[in-house]
């Protein structure tokens, strides 16, 4: 009978506390699973960092032959890019990258913040539900489409705008126009601003929505207006998150290639006005990718340009992370 009972328990009692043995096994299995999962997450976290490191190393290795001929300082500060004559000055490209990005951010950030605040704080749910997918859609448009749009709409607009602005505000050097065409930093900046807007809005919106309702309710309860509530109760808590959103937008703007390339004019001269043409680093790489095989050191120079671009983006990210830590007094962004 006992053996019969045991058999019965054996089949039915797998979860029965009476049987220590199988349940202990289960515990071990759980621990192993837990450990494997932990390891998996660890690897998943470090893998992208390893990839970044691998990219930097690969670029460095390929740039090395160039560094043997030209000093890094000459590459970063040189004004002339004529690889066939052995001149590899990348300063006009670095300046072009920064100019276009700066103009884009000046144009994009204020309206994006206002739009995100509106969507998160003011808009009725129905408006929000209609507007959000549309903004997300903006992020999904391929960059070459933005480029064509820039060519058709923005370049002529800037061409129309530049003599007028230059005539009225020409006493400011950065608004003086000597370029009779619309291919300019401003055109690139406008296209870029539209491209990064959905990203900045999306991040800012999420950050604002994640601020707990308590502060808001308390502020409104003591008679503050909506704007006062936003200004004193919501924004101070979301400063770090909003900055992160802007940094994200800048990083995207620094690297955007095709759309900018099509409208920015691609002249390798250091610009001095928003109406000047510029030549950002990604455009340099994309335009000359085809010549890589033809001239000695050219591929080295182009990969050097990629390395410089990567360093510019990294430098910017690190600086902004440090600045953010200063502002918020926190280590986490």
């Amino acid at each position: 009978m006992s053996s019969e009972r045991r058999g019965f328990r054996f089949w039915l009692g797998r979860n029965d506390v009476v049987h220590n043995h199988p349940s202990q096994n289960r515990n071990n299995l759980r621990k192993i699973k837990e450990r494997i999962a932990g390891r998996g997450f660890f690897l998943a976290t470090w893998f992208p960092l390893a990839v970044l490191l691998a990219i930097v190393i690969a670029l460095l290795v390929r740039t090395w032959p160039l560094l043997g001929v030209v000093s890094p300082w000459e590459i970063l500060s040189g004004q002339t890019w004529k690889p066939l004559q052995g001149l590899f000055g990348m300063f006009p490209f670095i300046a072009g990258t920064l100019w276009v990005t700066l103009v884009a951010m000046v144009l994009a950030v204020p309206p994006c913040l206002l739009s995100a605040i509106y969507l998160a704080e003011y808009a009725r749910p129905r408006v929000r539900e209609a507007a959000k997918p549309l903004l997300d859609l903006l992020a999904a448009i391929p960059s070459v489409v933005y480029g064509v749009w820039g060519l058709v709409a923005i370049v002529p607009l800037v061409q129309w705008l530049s003599p007028r602005v230059s005539g009225a505000f020409g006493f400011l050097p950065f608004l003086r126009s000597s370029n009779p065409t619309g291919f300019s930093i401003l055109a690139g900046g406008i296209v870029l601003a539209v491209m990064v807007a959905p990203f900045i809005i999306a991040v800012t919106y999420e950050v604002l929505r994640s601020v707990p309702a308590g502060g808001r309710e308390a502020s409104l309860a003591i008679g503050a207006t909506r704007w006062q509530t936003i200004k004193y109760a919501v924004l101070p808590q979301s400063r770090a998150g909003i900055s992160a959103g802007i940094v994200f937008g800048v990083s995207r703007a620094l690297g955007e290639t095709m759309a900018v390339l099509m409208v920015v004019g691609n002249v390798s001269k250091v610009p001095s006005s928003i109406f000047d043409p510029a030549y950002p680093l990604p455009a340099l790489i994309a335009n000359n990718y085809g010549e890589m095989m033809s001239i000695p050191l050219y591929d080295s120079a182009l990969l050097g340009a990629a390395l410089v671009l990567l360093l510019v983006v990294l430098f910017f990210n690190i600086i902004s992370a440090l600045a953010l830590r200063r502002i918020t007094g926190r280590t986490q962004v």
Binding site: T181, L261, M262, Y289, P296
Partner: protein, 320 residues
């Protein structure tokens, strides 16, 4: 739910395997029938000709698929050498460095790069009656000494600036144009616009613009006239101070004639090359051989210039 996910995953995997199976190229030895996919990229100049060839070749060999894309001669070269495509279209000379990296090339046809101005140019009549000499073009494109249209035609009272456009992407047309002016693409002044169509568009939109285009883009394929809004700028080849009848290129046919007879200088006329990574074999070789023989019938109607028989024979010889 879980089951759905599994089913979807399996379906996608099966689809992926099936689609991968579609690739591959082979010349079926037993039936002699050609099959497979030929991928081609490169020069904007050769693109219209290549799509025509692909179309005709496909009529004869229905099992052959083509994937042709344009992206500039440099892209064609790099893609071919890094095995991204089977054939690269390169509309400039192949450098010794590229040959050193395994580039095998044959010339298949000929065309030209033409200077293009806007039809509303402020000194259009002067330009059409006098043309511009090579030296004037050098002063516009290389040294930047000529800055206004008035200076270009010797009428100092006209002070409209010349808006110089060039190509931003590394390509055969700017390289050939720069070669004509004694320099390299990196020495060309002007605003860089991406692609052949982009450059033409910029000039059409700008009455003070000057650019350069491949034969196939400067002229409308249907009518044989220059694309609306653009005019081909006559080059005063013999430098007699006027544009002679054979220097004014008003239609595609005239231009093809001028290139074929050598009246139009070379460069900017140039041979169009096909590049493979090492000598081609199988299907790719068969296709290139067809281009050099039967394919030549379509060259005229596509608006390109036939190579001489000696040049074609040399290309065939090289393939063997």
């Amino acid at each position: 739910m879980n089951k759905r996910v599994w089913q979807a995953t399996v379906a996608i995997l099966i689809l992926a395997v099936v689609l991968t199976g579609c690739g591959g190229k082979s010349a079926d030895q037993q039936s002699g029938e050609l099959s497979g996919t030929i991928t081609i990229s490169g020069a904007w100049a050769l693109y219209p000709m290549m799509t025509r060839w692909a179309e005709e070749f496909k009529k004869l060999n229905p099992k052959v698929e083509f994937d042709v894309s344009a992206g500039g001669a440099g892209k064609g070269m790099t893609d071919a050498l890094s095995d991204i495509v089977d054939i690269g279209m390169v509309s400039r000379d192949i450098t010794p460095e590229e040959e050193g990296k395994g580039a095998f090339w044959v010339a298949v046809t000929k065309d030209a790069v033409l200077p293009v101005i806007n039809a509303q140019n402020p000194v259009l009549q002067d330009l059409l009656s006098k043309g511009l000499t090579r030296q004037a073009l050098i002063d516009i494109y290389i040294t930047g000494q000529i800055k206004t249209w008035g200076e270009a035609v010797g009428r100092p009272e006209v002070t409209t600036p010349i808006n110089v456009y060039t190509r931003s992407d590394a390509a055969g047309a700017p390289e050939t144009w720069a070669k004509y002016l004694g320099k390299k693409q990196e020495d060309l002044l002007g605003l860089g616009v991406f692609g052949d169509p982009g450059l033409l568009d910029a000039v059409i939109k700008d009455p003070n613009g000057i650019g350069f285009n491949n034969l196939g883009y400067a002229f409308d394929n249907q009518t044989g006239n220059p694309v609306a809004g653009a005019v081909v700028l006559p080059i005063d080849v013999n430098e007699d101070g006027k544009a002679d009848a054979d220097e004014v290129l008003e239609t595609k046919a005239e231009t093809v004639q001028a290139v074929a007879t050598g009246k139009y200088p070379s460069p900017p006329a140039r041979a169009e090359n096909l590049v493979t990574n090492g000598p081609p074999t199988g299907l790719i070789k068969a296709f290139i051989e067809w281009i050099l023989n039967d394919g030549q019938k379509f060259v005229d109607e596509a608006g390109f210039v036939q190579l001489t028989k000696e040049q074609l024979d040399a290309s065939m010889q090289k393939l063997k």
